[in-house]
């Protein structure tokens, strides 16, 4: 394995893997955002809040089941469903009445939701830091390339990312629902005109998007401290990823997340205090050369 190290220093290599694990979370959340953006044309600012709710719900569920592995696996199922349910209520109760109105109103409504969700989380869970234990089977490290210790949980994330990507691809390309949703993204009136209930398709897409936000929240919970304000950073990052990849394009979200995750983790090596700048620079560079994003946008 010395051959690998002679090309890439160990520190860089481990940062690459950190970046890749981060990419998984970013991709899962951003894919939900881009799905909603592509089909419903809503830039959902509350998406970050849904992610936060997912993480907090994961905390509660694991705690209820004694903080063991079983709790985490249950959380992995329950928390995204809870978030999806919240999404369903919001869509049926509010958003569906505004589709005809100007986009600004839709965006402001999602803004309002993010404010309300933020305070509700504070009301329910309080302001302290929460932590979710890493499930037993993923505790510890695996040696990568000989002796580079890599957390097992991050390896799990690296597998989870592509799995979600493939499932999403199957959903949007191989099912009838997905085909209708893609058609509605291009021309919603025409889809309605051929006798398809567009409103229901929109609701389903919105709920799937929210589910993904919740899933991202659960998956990230064991690796970070779950806290208020985790929504703010993430929504900005997800926005940039979606813009970089091309609005509404799921593969674009994957590519954008990859660039974002890697520039972020490697940037910290180059300039520790301002490592945060590099992903933003990447976005600006991408947009200078490809104003509509890397891949084809549905807009």
């Amino acid at each position: 394995m010395d051959a690998v190290y002679s090309i890439i220093p160990a520190g860089v290599l481990s940062q690459v893997f950190v970046g890749l694990s981060r990419t998984t979370i970013l991709f899962i959340v951003a894919s939900g955002l881009t799905l909603i953006l592509g089909v419903l044309r809503i830039p959902n600012v509350a998406h970050g809040s849904l992610y936060m709710i997912g993480a907090f719900t994961a905390f509660t569920v694991t705690k209820l089941f004694g903080g063991g592995s079983a709790g985490f696996w249950l959380a992995l199922i329950i928390a995204p469903l809870v978030v999806a349910l919240i999404g369903l209520i919001a869509e049926r109760g509010m958003f569906q009445f505004l589709y005809e109105r100007e986009h600004l109103m839709l965006l402001l409504l999602t803004f309002a939701f993010s404010l309300i969700f933020g305070d509700l989380v504070k009301l329910v869970w309080g302001g302290e830091y929460k932590s979710v234990p890493v499930p037993h089977i993923f505790q510890g490290f695996v040696p990568l390339f000989g002796d580079l210790p890599f957390p097992l949980y991050n390896l799990f994330l690296l597998i989870a990312g592509p799995v979600v990507a493939i499932l999403l691809w199957l959903l949007t390309n191989k099912t009838k629902m997905g085909k209708i949703a893609r058609a509605a993204a291009v021309d919603r009136e025409m889809v309605g005109a051929v006798g398809i209930n567009v409103s229901r398709v929109f609701a389903i897409v919105f709920v799937i998007g929210c589910f993904l936000a919740g899933l991202g929240g659960v998956l990230v919970a064991p690796t970070v401290s779950v806290t208020l304000g985790m929504d703010h950073n993430l929504i900005i990052e997800a926005f940039l990823i979606v813009i970089m990849g091309g609005l509404g394009n799921i593969w674009g979200a994957l590519l954008g997340a990859l660039i974002f995750g890697l520039t972020q983790s490697l940037g910290i090596l180059i300039w520790p205090q301002f490592g945060i700048i590099f992903p933003y620079l990447a976005v600006v560079v991408v947009l200078l050369f490809r104003p509509t994003g890397l891949l084809k946008s549905t807009w």
Binding site: P43, H103, M105, L108, A112, L123, I236, I276, L287, P291
Partner: protein
């Protein structure tokens, strides 16, 4: 302007001039804040309501103006009054640069990109301890003596705000303002009749940045502090709500919205920590029931009664 509006305007200004004589110190401070927030919201409305550009992260320019002024005051020995010009000019430049990067194919694209890049500015201010004071901000900024008393600060704020509002009013009435509104209503057609759409929009963004920077400098005078939350995106949202609540197709709407929001926030904060929750609910109500804002609603009613019944779309 008719004689009647001029009369009310004059009366309003006289009341504002006399306020510090009657009001206790805290309320003078509050009115100063309302005035500068109103100026900030009006500057946003210049691009949002009249220009049709989705400026979602307006607080950045406000914050940059405030920090620009503050850093000039604390780090250099240049004449203090110069700082109040440099701050806004820095914001205007910022508005222009961010505009050049963000003006893309669609309005929403602009807004999303601006929120994201604006957040980068926030992150830099938040982390750059040696220069901006990081998350502590900068306190006890040395202000020229003339402006350091609450009354001095109030009159300075009042005069600058009125002058800026007058200039913005003139801008909107000018050929440039008409062209801007034309672009808002029909960009393709405007382009066809020979208006340089991109140039007009960029100029509007720079102007809005300038006046937001003025509001930021005024905050430095009134409060003597700057802190990173001034350019956090939730504050941008608050400014947006001010515009929406007051009426974003009217000139004085944002000022009214600012007054309502600041008064409400002060009132609500004495009872509960959950101001964001209250704000979110207010926002939902406005979106569903008052989409044209308070002044927009009043105007609509007024027109219906006196001019002609509006023709509803079938």
């Amino acid at each position: 302007m008719s004689k009647k509006t001029l009369f009310w305007l004059g009366a309003g200004i006289i009341v504002l001039l006399l306020l510090p004589v009657f009001l206790p110190r805290f309320y003078v401070y509050l009115v100063s804040i309302i005035l500068l927030y109103g100026l900030l919201a009006t500057s946003l409305n210049l691009v949002l309501g009249y220009g049709g550009i989705f400026q979602f992260h307006h607080a950045v320019f406000y914050g940059v103006g405030a920090y620009g002024t503050t850093l000039m005051l604390t780090k250099t020995g240049l004449p203090p009054m110069l700082a109040f010009i440099v701050g806004p000019l820095v914001s205007a430049t910022f508005g222009l640069v961010l505009g050049i990067i963000c003006i893309r194919l669609s309005k929403l694209y602009f807004g999303m990109l601006q929120i994201s890049l604006g957040s980068l500015v926030w992150a830099i201010v938040y982390r750059w301890y040696s220069f901006t004071g990081g998350d502590d901000g900068i306190h006890g900024i040395p202000i020229p003596e003339m402006l350091s008393s609450p009354k001095g600060a109030y009159y300075f704020t009042l005069i600058i705000t009125l002058v800026c509002l007058f200039i913005m009013w003139k801008i909107i009435q000018s050929p440039f303002g008409s062209a801007l509104q034309g672009i808002r209503d029909n960009p393709v057609r405007s382009e066809m009749i020979g208006i340089n759409v991109r140039m007009h929009q960029l100029l509007a963004l720079a102007l809005a940045g300038f006046f937001a920077g003025v509001a930021g400098s005024l905050f430095v005078v009134v409060d003597n502090t700057v802190f990173p939350d001034m350019l956090f995106w939730t504050f941008s949202l608050e400014i947006l709500i001010m515009c929406l609540l007051g009426g974003w197709f009217t000139f004085l709407g944002p000022m009214l919205g600012a007054a309502v929001i600041v008064a409400l926030r002060t009132f609500v904060s004495t009872y509960t920590d959950y101001w964001a929750l209250v704000l979110g609910i207010i926002m939902m109500l406005v979106i569903f029931f008052l989409p044209n804002g308070i002044l927009g609603y009043v105007e609509e009613k007024f027109k219906r009664g006196f001019i002609e019944p509006e023709i509803e779309e079938q």
